[in-house]
Subunit: 191 residues, 2 copies
DNA sequence: TTGTTAGTGTGTCATTTGACACAGTAGAAG
DNA sequence: CTTCTACTGTGTCAAATGACACACTAACAA
């Protein structure tokens, strides 16, 4: 049983047949470090399930400065939803920071799946809803906790991200400068 | 035709019958300034459509400090999704800052609606998806733009929020102190 | 009227932060 | 091995920020 099946089995009650049916719509991809899932200017026509690996989701602001939007650590889904959903050109890019195992679901197959059965429409709704709850929580965390607290949480909960991403990218993710993150790290050598 | 019908008509293609059917599940509420939609500790068993009015969505962190999570300005939906979806006790509170017109959909009716027809399941999925895209954009804005830029955007796009919320609450929403927001306002008297 | 309360405007000051500069290091490529 | 490149570590300093303090105003109740 692969990571995708395990994820679906634990998060939703699906019969073995349903599990098999849904997983067969995904294509497994072994993506070495440095693989570009999508980049600025392209239409993102797939959603990826990250079974294993760390991914860097970023964009460039109007001054050409790189901003880290997210550091994904599987298992979780990853796409540019606005591009995937509306067919717009993406403003973001996403690259693997470690060798990764991904499962790709193309938009064609996704759309077909949604139309097949109420069950799959509700399935998609639940996944989107869970993602929204996660994002709302992230927004709450950003406005409530200090950068130091968030860094320590990251060290505790996602050591793989700390290992794989550069200080500059982590600093950008936390919304501070490379130097300030360095001060925080020096202060918390024990962590 | 009321604001809810107008919103649904513009955001989704619905037949007049469908429009009538869905809107009839909502209850219209005239909520004077100071009305509490939900508060910390209660299970939020309804989703609200804000037809008109400004609402303050906030919580208290572990130090007992009030943090503004959102300042809603209709037309838009408002609930504590995690509480509504999972039946958990809410950590947040939501209060009207102006006399408001709301449309309330209880969880019972929502659940029944979802089961009725694929159409309503997909309808809910689309609304949740749009909300998620909005939240992702908000998260991007928070990490990309300066507080001053965000304040000026707020003045430009949501003058009602600026008029209705206190300086302290807006500062908290932007992630800064009352005093720093005051400096920004002094610097931009023209705005 | 007089308190009372909540919110605003503003000055001072210590602290934090970001920007800049540069040395050190590790890994890749020749 | 040497060179190149990217990243890390670190010091200095000016600027931004938050905390504190207090006067002022408006709304409301006694």
């Amino acid at each position: 049983m692969n990571a995708l099946q395990l994820f679906f089995k634990e998060s939703h009650q699906l019969s073995p047949d349903d599990l098999h049916f849904i997983v067969n719509h995904f294509e497994m991809i072994s993506a070495p470090k440095g693989t570009i899932l999508f980049h600025e200017g392209m239409v993102v026509d797939a959603v990826y399930f990250i079974a294993e690996g760390v991914l860097h989701h970023f964009n460039y602001n109007e001054n050409g400065e790189k901003t880290t939007l997210d550091l994904h650590n599987g298992p979780c889904f990853c796409t540019d939803l606005e591009s995937f959903s509306d067919g717009k050109k993406s403003e973001d890019s996403c690259v693997t920071l470690t060798d990764s195992t991904l499962f790709k679901l193309t938009k064609d197959k996704y759309d077909a799946l949604i139309k097949t059965d109420v069950k799959w429409s509700n399935f998609a709704k639940d996944i989107i809803e869970k993602t929204l709850i996660k994002m709302l929580d992230q927004l709450k965390t950003v406005s409530t906790k200090t950068i130091e607290q968030r860094y320590l949480d990251l060290v505790k909960n996602s050591p793989l991200i700390i290992q794989s991403a550069s200080v500059a990218d982590i600093a950008s993710y936390l919304g501070t400068s490379r130097e300030t993150l360095h001060r925080i790290r020096k202060k918390n050598i024990f962590a």
